[in-house]
């Protein structure tokens, strides 16, 4: 029998509605799963425990009396840079303690009936190395010797391992999508500014976004419906994103060139096979108009390193308590001149101005999410086709473009490499085109089962 921990949020809601499961039992099962798995994975920093069980009891009552919200009784996890009233926020570092109040996105999920259950690991202030010097590395549920990705490392591992069906991460250069791809789950970086970032620590405000991570595109749609509901009511009246099983007539542009120039052979093979599947499902697949993601990557790095340094240079006062690679990034950012920063912003503006032309020709764009499947936990470089690439050159290569352009970007699993590790495929849509990317992703998942596979549980 399938454990409730392995069900999607949509399946849990259906089971609550049919009185086959209760939120109390599901919260207990999630707590038990994390207790059994987390010595190995190290994804959890704090758990809500008794308080979550009390909220689950209230959720059970609401299902009985017909007042259940859109996500009533769905447990969720939060990256430790998202502030919460019920659990402490430490930003994955020492010397910073967040206020005890809910970020707006937390308030919205709770208003829809969802239950905050875990605070989850992050790279230090969401910008340091994947090996957090204070809390340790998060292991990939598919292979504990591999990294879970970053910076939303705990969210990726917790969703993949069944601690929660839904988690929130943040994404400045790919930090929702990279761990989602490495851990074999579905993750969305929404349009810039669509979801409020109040109560979430910034890395680079120009690029930052908060987004949902789940085990299906359908669940991402449910989460977005709750997250975009602005009222204080349950959120049940929010428009759920309608999806389609067919891709007939959908125009998909393949981002060739930059996106396929540097790839692990298995990632290349699986991505191309998935794109062929999209065509078989009826999509009109053609080479994408020139998106200049290469230039977006360059601009993104300069903006990210300059803005993060501006945000956190004072953090260097904590000296040796700060991750050495984070210290180096912060120092390095201070060297970016204002004229070079403005050059990067000017280039960003030009690329954004070209988006209407790109999306006049394509409904969505498609490209791999990451250059490789999950690297080793301590990897600082990756060898591809006989050439060694520093992680810093490839970690954001295929993801930061969406942050620079401000467009929604969704990753989903499109296969497994020869080592049994998941590989991610990414869809980019026009600004505020979340419904399009979610619909395409759901159609792909209706025809494939990669998103339904779960890593083996280890006691």
């Amino acid at each position: 029998m399938t454990s409730p921990c392995d069900l999607t949020a949509a399946a849990l809601l259906a089971a609550y509605r049919a009185r086959q499961l209760s939120p109390v039992d599901v919260v207990r099962a999630c707590l038990d799963r994390a207790a059994a798995q987390d010595k190995r994975l190290n994804a959890v920093l704090c758990r809500a425990g008794e308080m979550a069980l009390q909220i689950a009891q209230r959720a059970e009552t609401r299902w009985k009396d017909g007042s259940a919200g859109l996500l009533e009784g769905i447990p969720f996890g939060l990256k430790d840079v998202i502030e919460t009233g019920d659990m402490p926020t430490t930003y994955g570092t020492k010397g910073l303690v967040g206020p005890r109040r809910d970020a707006e996105v937390v308030r919205r999920l709770k208003a829809a009936g969802a239950i905050p259950l875990f605070k989850l690991q992050t790279n230090e202030i969401a910008f340091g190395a994947v090996q957090n010097p204070h809390n340790g590395s998060v292991a990939n549920p598919w292979n504990a010797a591999r990294m879970a990705g970053g910076s939303s490392s705990g969210s990726g591992a917790a969703v993949a391992a069944g601690y929660v069906p839904l988690a929130l991460g943040t994404d400045t250069g790919g930090s929702v999508r990279s761990p989602s791809a490495y851990c074999g789950i579905t993750g969305l970086k929404p349009t810039s500014g669509l979801l409020p970032v109040s109560g979430i620590s910034a890395v680079a405000p120009n690029l930052d976004a908060v987004g949902p991570m789940a085990r299906s595109a359908e669940d991402i749609g449910l989460a977005m419906a709750a997250l975009t509901a602005t009222g204080s009511a349950s959120g049940s009246s929010a428009a759920i994103i309608r999806t389609t099983d067919s891709l007939k007539g959908i125009r998909i542009g393949v981002v060739e060139g930059w996106a396929f120039d540097v790839l692990e052979p298995d990632v290349d093979r699986l991505s191309r096979a998935a794109i062929q599947d999209l065509a078989r499902l009826g999509a009109q697949v053609s080479p994408a108009a020139d998106t200049r993601l290469d230039l977006a990557w360059q601009a993104g790095w300069i903006i990210m390193i300059a803005e993060s340094s501006g945000e956190y240079v004072d953090h260097l006062r904590h000296g040796a308590a700060v991750d050495p690679s984070l210290r180096v990034r912060l120092w390095s950012g201070t060297l970016i001149s204002s004229t070079d920063y403005l050059a990067a912003r000017r280039v960003q503006d030009r690329l954004v101005a070209g988006l209407p032309n790109v999306f006049a020709q394509h409904d969505v764009l498609v490209l791999p999410t990451s250059v490789t499947a999950a690297p080793g936990v301590a990897a600082t470089a990756v060898k591809l086709n006989g050439k060694e690439y520093p992680r810093i050159d490839i970690a954001t290569r295929l993801t930061i473009g969406a942050n620079v352009l401000g467009v929604p970007a969704l990753t989903l699993p499109c296969g497994f490499d020869r080592d049994g590790l998941p590989v991610g495929l990414q869809f980019l849509g026009p600004r505020n085109g979340e419904a399009k990317v979610i619909a395409v992703a759901q159609a792909y998942q209706a025809a494939t089962d990669f998103h339904q596979l779960r890593p083996a549980a280890h006691a």
Binding site: L295, Q298, A299, W301, I302, I305, V313, D314, L316, R317, G319, A320, P324, R327, V328, R329, W331, S332, T334, L335, I336, D340, L342, A343, A344, R346, V347, D349, R350, P390, I392
Partner: protein, 63 residues
Amino acid sequence: MSDPLVESLRMLARQPGISPLGDDLERAAALYRHFDGAIVDLRKEAQAVLEAETHDSSRTTKP
């Protein structure tokens, strides 16, 4: 000869309470140089954008 980038960083490091550790500054200068090519490319692209805007009479020019 001293590295001008490292020297620039040392100036900033004179702020009270902020002290570089170990080879932080040398590594930061190396990281900056790693993105030298990107910065040069962006300057050229930005210049091209500016020149295109100069030819667009609908835009307000700078004083």
